[in-house]
């Protein structure tokens, strides 16, 4: 046999996590020195909880909320049942009945959501996302409508290492899901936009850091979404549809310009959309963190916990009225103890943002470049090449069409933003790797995700635009039409979401394909319309704020179901999602493309000069529009045309039987339950330490577990209780032991005394058999705490 081996060497030689020369057995060992100890500890705790769950020692709901708070979501069919078009089919996973949450099987593939605060992602982060997509998912990195990334078809066993690899490049998935503060979004043009009051980036960064894991943001009844925008009239931040929307604003006081925010509160889409109320017209930047903290505390204290359908803050604001809500927040704010983090970020944030202000109408800088900018430019992780105009030289034919919508001049002369139009928010791992390299070569080593499921490169010198276009074209990332009607936004819908009713991605893909085919003949007024599709009424595709929105519904026809979409009109994308549309008529999925063509043709034919689509809808009236679409609502008989009875991109006969219980709402798990789960994990780790002969670690672990359990139960009455063991034991003794509320009906104070003895003996050396006893006592104390918690909840 003749064997020839050839190696093709790439020009890229930087070392990524994949290229380390020494092979270590685990990612944990490989990345030991690259992950902050507190985050490694978090991941270890999660692994311990996984092990406890496998052994049946952790409650389903507690584990579900715990994984959700780390970004590990369920996916469609994860209950082990799947409709095959004829009947329900059981998916026989090897782990059998083992679950990772209520009615959610362990082996069923899941989705992992990865938070990208304000959408900023660095080149090393992009590379790790690409690696994870290839190795443990389906090869696709998916950008969401809240600037996150999602990986699909991930096995839960792979999630701890996923978290480690992300943590090593500065990404946490903590609080990506669950009833917590979700990804804080921000305008992708922040710092380079012509319209903004100031760059919101440092404020979004500071608020993200401050609220991550903050004790005041752990006890919500539902999720909590915050966004930042640089101006009031553009859509980029969508402030009016968020729980808190922060819009940069300046005001002059005694001749001094102050930066602050117009604050909206209580907005939200979903089944019952609410427009946010103005909380204050101007909040100085040094009040951003404490006021947000106070809002979180009021929401945690007064927000609905039992009825999840009414647990978002929008319902609390509506119930109390904005004036009363403001009063409660101000009262809470006045009682908060000072925290140096409130203003600690300002000295660094302000000069950095100001350094980008040069050669613009907003700047008082005398020349096109300032020294501060030059310093900023040179310290970026990738090249920010010197500003230049777009060269007047021959370029590819398609360049102009691409540049027309995908390229935008920055506030800074000679620099441009480049929007990458990702179909349905998807890009492959090789595309992501190429993007990482291009960001290093042209864009300072950074890109941003957008709420329209695209990505943006910033700080592109005009002189580089043609080369960049050519490089993007090589990996099919130079798709034109970003931000136009062909750039359709969609939630995952029935493809992977347990709540999906109709195939939003299937429809979006079809609409995008048909529109792209005739994009050159479309009127400019139509080109600029936004289409957004959701698979159900929950509006993850943000259909309420599109010019033309669709959301999935179903209708019965004879003995069959037919996928439909409601046509939603009247929404406003600009002015930070200025108004919400309403459904006009439900059309069978397969008729939606025709309905869209009729709508746009009607608009082109009958609009008045300069009339926006929204104004047109208002003028002609929804009844008239409905009448024009009415014939499209007719469903052919099953035997006449079966195509109506299956959805876009899905060959099976349509059914609702695959609908599951969504995990968007998370599980309502009390602070006490969470604390007890943590104490059980610690007790379990103490056992491992004992088995390994680490006696001191075992004893310390057993004691820590008891203190954690005592703190968990005491926080029911004292939510702000510190972690100091002396204080925890003192408060526990006063509130639960001395009042005999912790006493066991038969054993009295026996279990509480385990804690007190361990506390008194903390630090003493003990023999292995005594360590064993201490662990047993810890376990009994935790059980007693569970029992006490149950008794209290029954009162």
């Amino acid at each position: 046999m003749t064997v020839i081996s050839r190696t093709h060497t790439s020009s890229e030689t930087d070392v990524s996590t994949a290229a380390a020369p020494a092979i270590l057995d685990t990612w944990k060992a490989r990345l030991r020195n690259r992950i902050p100890p507190s985050i490694e500890r978090e991941i270890e705790l999660y692994e311990t909880q996984m092990e406890l769950k496998r052994r049946g020692k952790l409650d389903d709901k507690v584990f579900a909320e715990s994984r959700l708070r780390r970004g590990a979501y369920g996916q469609r069919y994860d209950n082990g049942q799947r409709q095959n078009g004829i009947s329900a089919q059981t998916l026989d996973y090897p782990s059998g009945d083992l679950t990772k949450g209520p009615n959610t099987l362990w082996d069923a593939p899941g989705m992992h959501r990865i938070k990208i605060p304000f959408g900023e992602v660095t080149a090393p982060q992009m590379e790790v996302l690409a690696e994870l997509a290839e190795e443990i998912a389906d090869g696709i990195c998916h950008v969401t409508t809240r600037q996150d990334f999602q990986l699909h078809f991930v096995h839960i066993d792979d999630t701890p290492d996923l978290m480690r690899r992300l943590a090593a490049v500065g990404i946490t998935t903590r609080e990506a899901c669950g009833n917590v503060v979700r990804n804080i979004t921000g305008c992708p043009l922040a710092g380079v936009c012509h319209d903004e009051s100031f760059d919101v980036t440092p404020y979004a960064k500071a608020l993200t850091t401050f609220l991550l894991g903050h004790p005041d943001a752990q006890d919500f009844g539902r999720k909590f979404k915050i966004s930042f925008s640089g101006c009031d009239d553009q859509p980029c931040g969508l402030g009016r549809m968020h729980d808190i929307g922060l819009i940069a604003k300046q005001q002059t006081v005694d001749g001094t310009v102050q930066n602050g925010f117009k604050v909206f509160v209580g907005g939200g889409l979903g089944a019952v959309p609410h427009k946010a109320k103005v909380f204050t017209d101007f909040l100085p930047v040094d009040e951003l963190l404490p006021t947000t903290q106070a809002i979180c505390r009021v929401f945690a204290r007064l927000g609905e916990k039992r009825n999840r359908a009414r647990a978002r803050i929008k319902f609390l604001v509506a119930k109390l009225g904005i004036e009363e809500f403001q009063r409660l927040v101000q009262d809470e704010r006045s009682q908060l103890p000072e925290d140096p983090r409130w203003i600690g970020f300002l000295p660094e944030a302000l000069p950095e943002a100001a350094s980008l202000d040069f050669g613009t109408s907003n700047s008082d800088a005398s020349g096109p470049f300032t020294e501060a900018f030059e310093t900023w430019r040179l310290k970026q992780d990738g090249a920010v090449n010197e500003a230049a105009p777009i060269p007047n030289r021959p370029h590819p034919d398609a360049f102009d069409a691409w540049a027309a919508n995908n390229v935008r001049q920055q506030r800074q002369n000679g620099y441009f933003t480049v929007l990458l139009h990702l179909p349905l928010g998807d890009l492959t791992a090789p595309q992501m790797r190429r993007l990482a390299r291009l960001s290093r070569e042209y864009a300072g080593g950074v890109a941003r995700t957008t709420v329209e499921q695209n990505m943006m490169l910033r700080w592109i010198s005009g002189g580089d635009l043609i080369e960049l276009y050519q490089e993007l074209s090589e990996v099919q990332l130079a798709r034109p039409g970003a931000g136009t009607i062909v750039d359709v936004t969609s939630c995952p819908g029935t493809d992977t979401c347990k709540l999906g009713i109709s195939s939003s991605r299937g429809l979006a893909s079809e609409l995008s394909r048909q529109l792209a085919e005739r994009s050159y003949e479309l009127d400019e007024a139509v080109q600029n319309l936004r289409i957004k599709v959701s698979g159900c009424f929950n509006s993850c595709g943000q259909h309420h704020v599109a010019d033309i929105g669709f959301y999935g519904v179903s209708r019965k026809a004879g003995n069959h179901r037919v996928p439909h979409f409601q046509v939603v009109l009247g929404g406003q994308w600009s002015e930070n999602a200025g108004s919400y549309g309403l459904p006009v008529v439900a059309v069978p999925s397969k008729n939606v493309p025709t309905a869209l063509t009729r709508l746009t043709d009607f608009y082109i034919r009958e609009r008045e000069r300069g009339e926006s689509f929204q104004a047109f809808v208002q003028r002609v009236g929804k009844q008239e529009i409905k009448t024009r679409l009415l014939d499209l609502t007719r469903i052919p008989g099953f035997d006449e045309d079966r195509s109506y009875y299956s959805d876009w991109g899905d060959a099976r006969e349509y059914t609702l039987a695959d609908l599951g219980v969504g995990e968007c709402a998370g599980e309502v798990v009390s602070l006490a339950d969470f604390g007890l789960a943590e104490s059980e994990s610690t007790a379990f780790e103490a056992q491992i330490a004992l088995d390994a002969g680490r006696i001191d670690d075992a004893v310390r672990g057993a004691y820590t577990a008891m203190v954690q359990a005592a703190r968990a139960i005491t926080r029911i009455e004292l939510p702000d209780l510190t972690e100091n063991p002396d204080e925890v034991v003192r408060q526990f003794k006063t509130r639960f032991h001395d009042t005999q509320r912790f006493h066991d009906p038969f054993a009295g104070a026996k279990f509480a005394n385990y804690l007190f003895r361990a506390h008194d003996a903390n630090g003493d050396s003990v023999a292995p058999d005594a360590a064993h006893r201490r662990i047993e006592e810890a376990q009994l104390f935790i059980e007693a705490t569970h029992a006490c918690n149950t008794r209290l909840s029954q009162i």
Binding site: T2, W27, P94, P109, P423
Partner: protein, 197 residues
């Protein structure tokens, strides 16, 4: 080599890339009918992504896809779950899975005989940067197994076959090689050598 996340790709004949749409109904039917001998879960349609995984058949142990991720259309099996055995044994078991599916595809009426696989080269990737970083050491550790495997799939006369292994060494990519055989291998049947192994 302990890595189990192996990916094997057969390439379609130049100019013979099939339309993606029919694969959606084919794969749904395979799930319904338990066509392959492992747990199949779902169909993922990424046909909108250029040079992507196309249409995927998601399984518990691994995924199948009609794939153009490396710029060339082909049919891929990517194994995902831990599996016992040596690297060589895993190569063989994954090849069997890939061939079983490819053979099934060839019989699909909806494809109208359009599926034409070039039986003289295939690709192998190890989707595990921890155990198989894309470097020469990894190539050295698996090359003899790959060589033997390439001979096995070509049948009894394989010892006379010339095999070329091209290694794409971008350190950021997964370890991957393209293997060319002088004589074609069959995609409709396992070679006798592989059958015996």
């Amino acid at each position: 080599m302990d890595a189990y996340r192996l990916s094997l790709k057969l390439y379609f004949q130049p100019g013979a890339a099939p339309e993606l749409a029919p694969f959606i109904s084919i794969f749904h039917r395979w799930i319904r009918d338990h066509t392959l001998d492992h747990l199949l879960i779902d169909v993922a349609d990424y046909s909108e992504v250029p040079n992507g995984p196309g249409v995927m058949l998601i399984g518990h142990e691994g995924h199948y896809s009609v794939d153009t991720t490396d710029g060339q259309p082909g049919f891929v099996y990517s194994h995902k779950r831990p599996e016992a055995g040596s690297f060589a044994e895993r190569l063989r078991s994954n090849w069997r899975r890939l061939l079983a599916a490819a053979k099934q595809l060839e019989q699909e009426e909806a494809l109208n005989g359009s599926l034409s696989i070039a039986g003289d080269h295939f690709a192998c990737r190890i989707n595990d940067r921890l155990l198989a970083p894309n470097q020469q050491e990894t190539l050295a550790s698996v090359e003899s197994d790959l060589r033997r495997f390439a001979a096995e799939i070509c049948g009894e006369t394989a010892r006379e076959t010339a095999v070329e292994i091209e290694h794409e060494s971008d350190p950021r990519a997964c370890f991957g090689v393209r293997i060319r055989t002088e004589h074609p291998y069959s995609i409709t049947a396992l070679s006798p050598t592989l059958e015996r192994s």
